[in-house]
Symmetry: C2
Subunit: 339 residues, 2 copies
């Protein structure tokens, strides 16, 4: 078994460890999110962590009822014109904690006396040392280049902060159930992914999502792309129909992330529109006829923790069919030091 | 000549009209940007306007020295959980002014008593009526589905707000020179684009940019995609090297937006890395050996107004070679009413 598959299957255990070890600590960090002078959140991240940041944009935005912005690191580094950050709570997300541009944003926030939280799997990393507070991801050692359990635990850490900052006891109970649901999702998706074998000769594909699963679409596309080298891309369902849909030709594979929830009706309209253009659809959903079925009873706010699982397994299967080294994809490194 | 080509060639005149008619008005609007209670900007947009918003993220961020966030319209519409907006200045960008989700964000800001500015080509549109202040784009009637002159004038409007809010006289003088530089760029790129004829059989491509030209990469990819139906995508040069580069196979076309400026060194490193992977590079730059040459002496902060021109012409040429109707691309509409 590849390192990647091993780590992918370890996700329920890693997630349970995070919830057990960091639940109380998250309650303390939540005080930062509730500070009355916090008028917006500013997240700095790169790669898979930026897909987790899209989850935070919806979830922490709903928790604190403030907008969530993404930092433009080059304003801090290349252009040397960092903004005034009064009103900001800055969150840096980096699995390795090594990314210099993520750290540059956190450093600037501290210089300006603003509260900062690092989400990282490496509590001794430069990012963790730079931030005022750290929420360790507790994912354990991740050795394959492509992130799986560190991504899932980033989502878990964001969900913990949501439950803690809203002091919502039902949310905390729902969160406690999620490792078992991720385990059940792995079992379901391992069965479903056999269907992917028919698609060994595709050239690429598109993943669409909306709302809280916008980031899931990006993470699934990234994972397939990293592991298989196939040209996958992600779009918000709303933006896709604005023009980019012009390149969706008959037969082109489209994975639609469509769990139950407020975004489902609008996702269904996009699915119908894409089907009418002749796209080859793979729906990640709860319906019996979904190609990649979701386990039932996962609350919508936690759905990104299960919707990514079938995507990870499709990525792994497509890579195996194409004969690549899934642990060391061509030309990629685990840590990228962009400034 | 197609409507699209006519409108594309009209851009220098449309831009000059904007600067002449709206210069003084922009000075008045700039007072909103300088309000002391503005701690961040929040931009709502869709489609091409979101690519103009990426320019605003860098330029207005530098002008006001505050972070610029993008709104998540579905929190206002689908999820009905709009954030608190104290500290925000809200900017809605919509060429038609018809987009209900852009208007929903502006409506919410007004309910909360926050300042709002609409950038739209339609001063009588629902968005313009909803906002406290309007900066008309003055692009004239745009009839082809794909935006060209409304996009360029959106950039022009953002540049006007920058020059006005910083009260920078040199910036204003540099801005006055830009219509003539766009005209010269059109002439240069009309010559260069003949080289695109060799590429009629490509399946797709990637556009990369960084910093202030991050949005230019997205707009060029969108334009090629809308007009030709080819699968073009855009990446920040920093994010691409983090993993998505795995799908860049030998011979794959990559357009690199690389004008002079603080981002050039990091862009050059990415160009070299892509060349080492065997990608087929088309550089938009000032160097003599650039495939798509930029006219000289355009200041970096205004470079997105010229870098998009060769991209628009490549899009038009590829569409013509493939025999599509460039004025009415398959399945697209001028106004998309996403909620």
């Amino acid at each position: 078994m590849s390192l990647l598959e091993h780590e992918l299957r370890e996700q329920p255990v890693a997630l349970a460890r995070l919830l057990e070890r960091q639940g109380e600590h998250a309650d303390k960090l939540a005080a930062l999110l509730r500070r009355r002078d916090v008028r917006y959140l500013l997240i700095a991240s790169r790669g898979s962590s930026s897909n987790a940041a899209r989850y935070a944009q919806y979830l922490l935005g709903r928790a604190s009822r403030v907008p969530v912005a993404f930092a433009t690191p080059s304003l801090y580094t290349l252009y040397e014109q960092p903004p005034r950050l009064d009103g900001a709570l800055v969150v840096g997300i980096s699995q390795s904690g090594e990314s210099p541009d993520v750290k540059a944003v956190v450093d600037e926030a501290r210089r300006q006396g603003r509260p900062t939280i690092a989400l990282t799997n490496m509590p001794g990393s430069p990012l963790a040392l730079a931030a005022e507070a750290v929420l360790p991801l507790e994912a354990g050692d991740e050795r394959s280049v492509a992130a799986t359990k560190t991504y899932l635990n980033s989502l878990g850490a964001i969900a913990l902060l949501f439950a803690a900052s809203t002091r919502d006891k039902q949310a905390r109970r729902e969160l406690e159930l999620i490792p078992a649901q991720v385990e059940a999702q792995l079992e379901q998706s391992l069965l479903d992914v056999a269907n992917a074998d028919r698609y060994r000769s595709i050239a690429g594909g598109t993943v669409v999502g909306r709302g809280i699963n916008y980031g899931s679409a990006f993470e699934i596309a990234l994972k397939i792309r990293e592991l298989s080298g196939l040209l996958f891309e992600a779009w918000s369902a709303a933006d896709l129909m604005h023009g980019p849909v012009a390149a969706i030709a008959p037969g082109w594979p489209v994975i639609a992330v469509a769990p139950r929830g407020p975004a489902l009706e609008s996702m269904q309209a996009v699915i119908d529109g894409l089907a009418a253009r002749g796209a080859h659809l793979f729906v990640i959903g709860e319906a019996e006829d979904a190609a990649l079925r979701l386990v039932p009873n996962v609350p919508e706010w936690l759905s990104p923790l299960v919707t990514v699982i079938p995507g990870q397994l499709v990525a792994l299967r497509l890579a195996e069919l194409r004969g690549g080294d899934v642990d060391h994809p061509h030309g990629l490194q685990k840590v990228t030091l962009t400034r």
